[in-house]
Amino acid sequence: MTDLHLDLLIVGLTAVTIVTRSLFMIVGDRLLLPRRLQQGLRHAPVCALVALIVPQVLTSGADLDLSPLNPRLAAALVAATIMHYRRDMLSAMCAGMMVLFALRWLV
């Protein structure tokens, strides 16, 4: 791998970032989506973030770990519960990390 090749790849990857993240803003005027679909798309970021979070919480390696003693699951549940009732990010994260370390140490 030459330096020039890697430089060009980084430029190409930057272009990929721009084009994928803008695609419908580039072609959208010519491609009208049904209204209900358009409105439903406001749920897309929640779905994406949930899909990024859940596998990291529920799996270890390739296996599902649904036990309540799964440190990651317990930590995420505690953090989500505190966030839901108190809307306080810092206490949610601190409580989550404490649960994580406590269960890792105990189990």
Partner: protein, 250 residues
């Protein structure tokens, strides 16, 4: 840029500051991912200048993590670029959701707004805008779009500044940062805290449950296709739930 000059300067600045402020809780998640990605880049064998260039310019953590092994393994350029594009497909869906809000801008500005889109930036923008449709109450349509754009740029600046300011020390100190002490999980917890307030009404609960289930069932799929499948299934479920929840017209 992004609006008429002069009189609106103050409202633009306020909207930008508003966005930056609203992004602040999400900074912990971005910071954690930035360090994890930067450290991984150096540990994969990239030299410091290229690692910095990649983390600052490409600006796409999951795509970078997917293509680095391919680049190191000497895969052809088209495969590297195609892989990055596939990993980024969820952003194509996001761009469809963003289009109505920004369609009055000229192309170059839409490209900038697209480039700066992040999962959390889009989530927070939609949380503020949903319900109001494409128009915000009060003021002209032009004014509303200017305010919306600068709010979005404020969110984007929060993400970008956090990403870059953590990527630089992450890259330079990569040799001394121990992995595997739970930093990635700090990111997971921060994402969880950011997403919880958005799961508020029935369609969003249905969407989140379906997306979570699909992401686990499809976790063996390569290239983050499980995330794409989860977004498609979750959005479809949310739309169906909105339809069934609406009272029937007589």
């Amino acid at each position: 840029m992004f609006g008429p000059p002069g009189a609106l300067a103050t409202s633009r600045r306020l909207a930008f500051a508003d966005g930056l402020h609203d992004f602040s809780p999400a900074m912990i998640a971005t910071a954690a991912w930035s360090v994890v990605t930067a450290v991984t880049t150096v540990k994969m064998g990239f030299d410091i200048p290229h690692a910095l260039a990649m983390n600052i310019l490409v600006y796409a953590a999951s795509a970078q993590l997917a293509v680095m092994p391919l680049i190191v393994g000497g895969a052809p350029a088209w495969l590297v670029l195609l892989t990055a594009a596939i990993v980024n497909l969820r952003f194509v869906i996001f761009s469809a959701g963003l289009h109505p809000f920004f369609k009055e801008h000229r192309l170059s500005r839409r490209l900038i707004l697209g480039y700066l889109t992040s999962d959390m930036g889009y989530l927070l923008a939609i949380r503020r805008w949903s319900g109001s449709g494409a128009a915000e109450p009060g003021g002209s349509a032009d004014e509303a779009m200017t305010t919306r754009t600068w709010y979005y740029l404020g969110l984007a600046a929060g993400n970008w500044l956090t990403w870059v300011s953590m990527a630089v020390p992450g890259t330079l100190l990569a040799g001394r940062v121990p992995t595997n002490w739970g930093l990635d999980f700090v990111g997971v917890l921060a994402l969880t805290a950011v997403v919880v307030p958005s799961v508020a009404d029935k369609p969003s609960v249905v969407g989140a449950v379906v997306a979570g289930a699909v992401s686990v069932m499809a976790r063996a799929m390569p290239l983050k296709l499980a995330v794409l499948a989860a977004v498609v299934a979750g959005v479809a479920a949310a739309i169906a739930s909105e339809r069934s929840g609406r009272p029937r017209r007589p």
